[in-house]
Symmetry: C2
Subunit: 299 residues, 2 copies
């Protein structure tokens, strides 16, 4: 069985203090799908324009990602450009060209509709709804988001929260959504909006899982060379969902380990521009880093 | 055997968005000594003025803190006042009156000079040196600091770093000291300045221990009601040193658990103004929270 991943499929132009890389493969679905692919088969939903470079398609195929749900239509691929500050945490968007995403309406192939694990990676909540509408009784649905949707699509997002099992967001989004600075209280408030599992991403500080009044404090894998953090959050949730699909037993019993695998995938992502480091990862390297994470937290 | 604690002994006037508490017992030595006292006997070095309220002395005595090294001299006790923003993380100093600290010269009683564990809590590096000069072959010396000393006493601080086993500082201080944003790299640079053990405090995000090229990622105990974070960092290092004094075996084998005990003590500290919550803690409550921290990180 496969993980279904919907999200953005994009060309990213990324500037850091050290380098400038135009038109890399990017988008939340690309990162999440590749990260998930190390654990389980992935079916991707998205849209690109006719300008989408063939090497990017080949990268998806290298990871055996099912592209039946990837529409290739006339027009330009979604393009995002951003610039990181010297600390590699703060970034600003320089330009966003929606291109073919402006008129995108996801249509799920029949084979997609039975996927047990559904990852609604970061994209407009209306599109996340639209995908969910087409699914037949999925086992576990997780949504990710970004500050943009809190600003311009809050009603859609609030409706979505009533339909998902898990919700993933970063610290500042959690604070913005709940108007609560304390993250433990913020997570409690988010539960009241619907999701049984709330995962707050804290970047280099790890993540907090809140579930049934129990917390799990997950570390981030420590890195001394962050090349490009773009997509790390998408890899986190992609790795998490891929692991959940691959693991036996109830989701709740596997979720803590899944989050740590998510941290590991996110760490690889940060070590290269775009998907360049992630795509070179091996299952053995993932296993080593997971084990290392254990030695970094054991006492 | 006792832990020796030197640091500031102060009256703190603390404003938060919810309350205003003038002239509470404060100072790095007060917090650290009380935190350490739950694990081991403590000998405190400091100075207060004749205006120092008797109830504060009684609080030290309640915790069996040896006060032979606490000078009570003519003049005013060091007074700090500060105000917290609504997020309870950012604070600004409203006023600092050094009082009797302006002319303080620590003199260690003979009984103090044999202490195996020495905590140079946050105070001017010159005073930390002065205390260390009087010690006879201590087993383990840890220094804490604050941004002020990075700004006005860097030469003294750099000399101190060559004399201590462990150095504790917070994220922004680590970045300021090393001019390196990445904390893993910053810790590496700090090792080159002398200390074998570098501990970076990250507040609600926990702490990083760097030792012999090995890292330990310590969580913070999650709190949903931070009343007053003043002194939490001092309690962290005080709890850590108290536990180390109480534990058998080599320091390095106990340091990870010691840091977690430090986190636990810091969490209690945040739950009341000044020392009010910390002083009511019981060994059983500490043990419960330590155990709970384990369940929050186990997978």
């Amino acid at each position: 069985m496969s993980v279904l991943v919907v999200g953005s499929t994009a060309l990213d132009s990324i500037k850091t203090p050290l380098a400038n890389h135009p038109r890399l493969l990017g988008g939340s679905a690309s990162y999440a799908a590749v990260a998930a692919s190390f654990f389980a088969p992935v079916k991707m939903v998205g849209v690109v324009g006719k300008d989408f470079p063939q090497p990017h398609i080949r990268l998806y195929k290298k990871h055996k990602i099912d592209l039946e749900g990837l529409q290739i239509v006339a027009g330009k691929t979604f393009h995002w450009s951003g610039e990181y500050e010297i600390n590699m945490n703060n970034r600003r968007t320089l330009e966003t060209e929606l291109g073919v995403f402006e008129t995108f309406s996801p249509r799920l192939p029949i084979s997609y509709q039975q996927c047990p694990f559904v990852l609604l990676a970061n994209i407009a909540p209306a599109l996340q709804h639209h995908v969910l509408d087409q699914m037949r009784r999925p086992k576990f649905v997780v949504a990710d988001t970004m500050d943009l949707w809190l600003n311009i699509a809050m009603p859609d997002l609030l409706k979505l929260l009533k339909r998902v099992d898990g919700f993933v967001l970063n610290e500042s989004e959690a604070r913005q959504l709940t108007e609560e600075h304390n993250l433990i209280l913020a997570a409690k408030k988010i539960h009241q909006l619907g999701p049984k599992f709330v995962i707050v991403k804290k970047g280099e500080h790890g993540a907090i899982l809140s579930a049934r009044n129990k917390l799990f404090l997950a570390p981030a894998f420590p890195l001394d060379n962050v090349v490009d953090p773009t997509g790390a959050g998408d890899c986190f949730v992609g790795g998490m969902m891929g692991y959940l699909q691959s693991a036996r037993g109830p989701v709740e019993a596997n979720l803590r380990r899944a989050i740590l695998y998510g941290s590991v995938l996110a760490s690889f992502c940060c070590e290269g521009f775009g998907l360049s480091a992630l795509t070179r990862v091996t299952p053995a390297a993932i296993a080593r880093r997971f084990k290392l994470l254990e030695t970094l937290t054991r006492y």
